[in-house]
């Protein structure tokens, strides 16, 4: 059976490119090196939820149709619309996004990608403050202090810790994996002994001992790689960490500013900040200053909570301050596999990373005004094209209400909540499985996506579908101009 090596995984922003797939009779039958999400995608993508024929809604019901018919209907919707929204883009390749931007310009609409509801505030902040960053390779080989803030890599980027940070074996830093295993074993043994002692001597039913050790353990001051997690819940990642700081919800900003004060050797005149005793924070600040190469990864825990972009301002400023004392970098944990690519393509084509409005004929960017959720909440759009995304499952209800009221075109390989509400649905080939292309990893490194199997018969790629819609829209608009002139 042929084995395809070095496949890039099209799931999360970690973009692991060491996946090995075994192909049998045009199907992926075995996945090696992948995480649970990777396996689920490669082995389950072709299930019963797959759409195989274009669908058009007629009298409230979906009717199967030809690609040509669907392209015509989609082009009609877009050409007739005054202010359409083109949304998604983060789970397709850069090549499709490039065509999408041309389409948005042609129809005078708003083109926005999913970063608007994940790391949009981070981008705004980076534009304000700047970002000291590097590639994940640098972090793998050099970082001796790894901090995740408002991010649960174990759940959202399952191989991030193993491939790029604390548990990876770098050239200059060893993996902390063995230490973690020893810690787990020791805690299991301790729990067993405690439970046995309690049963034998106290004749009590064993209860679960409190697991959280609130003060920083001595191990946090040792040499070598250390993992610190700051979050509102004790996530799975937090259980692996050398130290976990539990911050109260919506109070990250205070904690970030407290760290800024501490690393400038200022005294805090309070006992605790965001529910954490200041003396513990002082010790962590000390660890930050004493590291050789530190990195702060931040997730949507910061961008979605109260303060939003101001949280990121504070985080970026904290890293700037830390760079006065040692070497520190910062990186957002990007979610979808090519959300960074969607930002990058949008930036080089229009000058702006997301929320780009073409209604005046030139690109305009003003998140809060030209961002898709706001356009929908103000009920301004009159049609939408959604590609490789599921806003009905991801937008607040009020925004979805307006989205589904107007004509809706969906391009997606799977049936999802948005496709169920659409007027035109195009089945598409899975990018990274049935279509090749380029994607950008969270550290802005472009990686090639492989085509390992053929798409089902008659199913086109995102790029091809968009090209056909674009060419049909151009034809219709030209025809209309001729009619108006006559």
């Amino acid at each position: 059976m042929p084995v395809v090596k070095a496949v890039t995984c099209p799931v999360c922003g970690s973009l692991c490119d060491d996946i090995e797939l075994t192909i049998q009779e045009g199907k992926v039958v075995k996945v090696k090196n992948g995480c649970a999400m990777c396996e689920s995608k490669f082995l389950g993508y072709n299930g019963e939820h797959r759409i195989l024929k274009p669908l058009i809604r007629k009298n409230g019901e979906f009717v199967k149709t030809s690609v040509k018919e669907a392209v015509k209907r989609a082009a009609e919707i877009l050409a007739e619309a005054n202010y359409p929204v083109l949304y998604g883009w983060s789970s397709t390749n850069c090549e499709a996004t490039r065509v999408g931007i041309e389409l948005a310009e042609e129809v005078g609409g708003v083109i926005d990608n999913t970063s608007v509801i994940c790391h949009g505030p981070s981008i705004l902040s980076v534009q304000d403050v700047g970002i000291p960053s590097c590639t994940l390779g640098q972090i793998r080989h050099r970082a001796d202090l790894v901090i995740y803030w408002g991010s649960d890599p174990w759940s959202a980027h399952p191989r991030h810790i193993e491939r790029y940070t604390a548990f990876s074996q770098g050239r200059f830093e060893n993996s902390a994996w063995r230490g973690y295993l020893t810690k787990i074993k020791a805690s299991q043994v301790r729990k067993k002994i405690e439970s046995a002692v309690r049963r034998v001597f106290l004749k009590e039913a064993p209860s679960i001992p409190p697991l959280i050790r609130r003060e920083p353990p001595p191990s946090i001051f040792r040499e070598g790689r250390k993992l610190v997690i700051i979050d509102v819940r004790r996530t799975r990642s937090a259980q692996m960490a050398d130290y976990f700081i539990q911050v109260e919800p919506n109070r990250d900003y205070e904690l970030l500013q407290a760290f800024r004060a501490l690393i400038r050797d200022e005294e805090l005149e309070v006992d605790q900040v965001a529910g954490v005793p200041v003396e513990y924070l002082e010790e962590v600040a000390d660890v930050m200053i004493r590291c050789n190469f530190g990195v702060l990864f931040f997730g949507v825990g910061l961008t979605m909570s109260s303060g939003k972009l101001r949280n990121i301002d504070a985080a970026l400023s904290l890293i700037r301050d830390l760079n006065m004392r040692t070497k520190f970098v910062i990186m957002p944990m990007r979610g979808h596999f090519n959300v960074t690519g969607a930002n990058t393509v949008s930036t080089w084509q229009t000058g702006y990373p997301y929320a780009v409005d073409f209604s005046l004929g030139y690109p305009r960017y003003n998140p809060g005004e030209t961002s898709v959720v706001d356009v929908l909440l103000r009920k301004e759009s009159d049609a939408a094209l959604v590609i490789a995304s599921d806003p009905v499952a991801n937008f607040p209800r009020k925004a979805v209400e307006h989205l589904v009221k107007n004509p809706l075109i969906v391009i997606d390989p799977h049936m999802n909540a948005t496709a169920q509400m659409a007027d035109v649905v195009f089945p598409s080939a899975f990018v990274g499985i049935e279509a090749c292309g380029t994607a950008y990893r969270m550290d802005h490194v472009p990686l090639p996506l492989k085509k390992v199997v053929e798409p089902p018969r008659g199913v086109l790629t995102d790029e091809e579908i968009l090209r056909r819609i674009l060419s049909e829209v151009k034809k219709m608009r030209k025809k209309r101009q001729v009619e108006v002139a006559a």
Partner: protein, 135 residues
């Protein structure tokens, strides 16, 4: 009629590995639906509500109300905080306010939770129909 106690809590939404696996399998798959119709509650809050795991609960915010299944959180203690994975069910109750920067407020929302053992968990289709009058 039994009256249940209501509890004021802070709602967080976010990713779980089960939701991640479910979404890659297919957004209409049972795995996905099962992974996003749950609400992780601290054991102490479960005790306060007087319910056991897997009882349906109604979570309400000023933006909407939805029925999900209560699960005991092993990520505690986080008394006063409930966690619902991202998905169509969570979206009914999250805060659409973007504070003029495009980003809705999806974490840290004041909410109220009460046991609803007699109210059904809606299917995706029924939920979309109920919320948007379209399926």
């Amino acid at each position: 009629m039994v009256t249940y106690q209501k509890l004021k809590v802070t709602l967080l939404t976010g990713r779980t590995i089960e939701q991640g696996v479910g979404k890659e399998k297919g957004k209409t798959s049972q795995e996905y639906v099962d992974s996003v119709t749950v609400c992780f509650i601290d054991p102490e809050d479960l005790r306060k509500l007087g319910i056991k795991e897997k009882t349906n609960v109604q979570v309400s915010t000023e933006h909407g109300s939805v029925v999900v299944k209560a699960l005991k959180s092993i990520r505690g203690p986080h008394s006063g905080i409930i966690y619902i994975p991202y998905g169509p069910w969570a979206n009914v109750i999250v805060n659409p306010e973007t504070h003029s920067i495009g980003m809705p407020s999806l974490k840290g929302i004041p909410a109220e939770i009460e046991p609803a053992p007699n109210k059904p968990l809606l299917s995706l289709r029924a939920l979309l129909n109920q919320q948007f009058g379209k399926d």
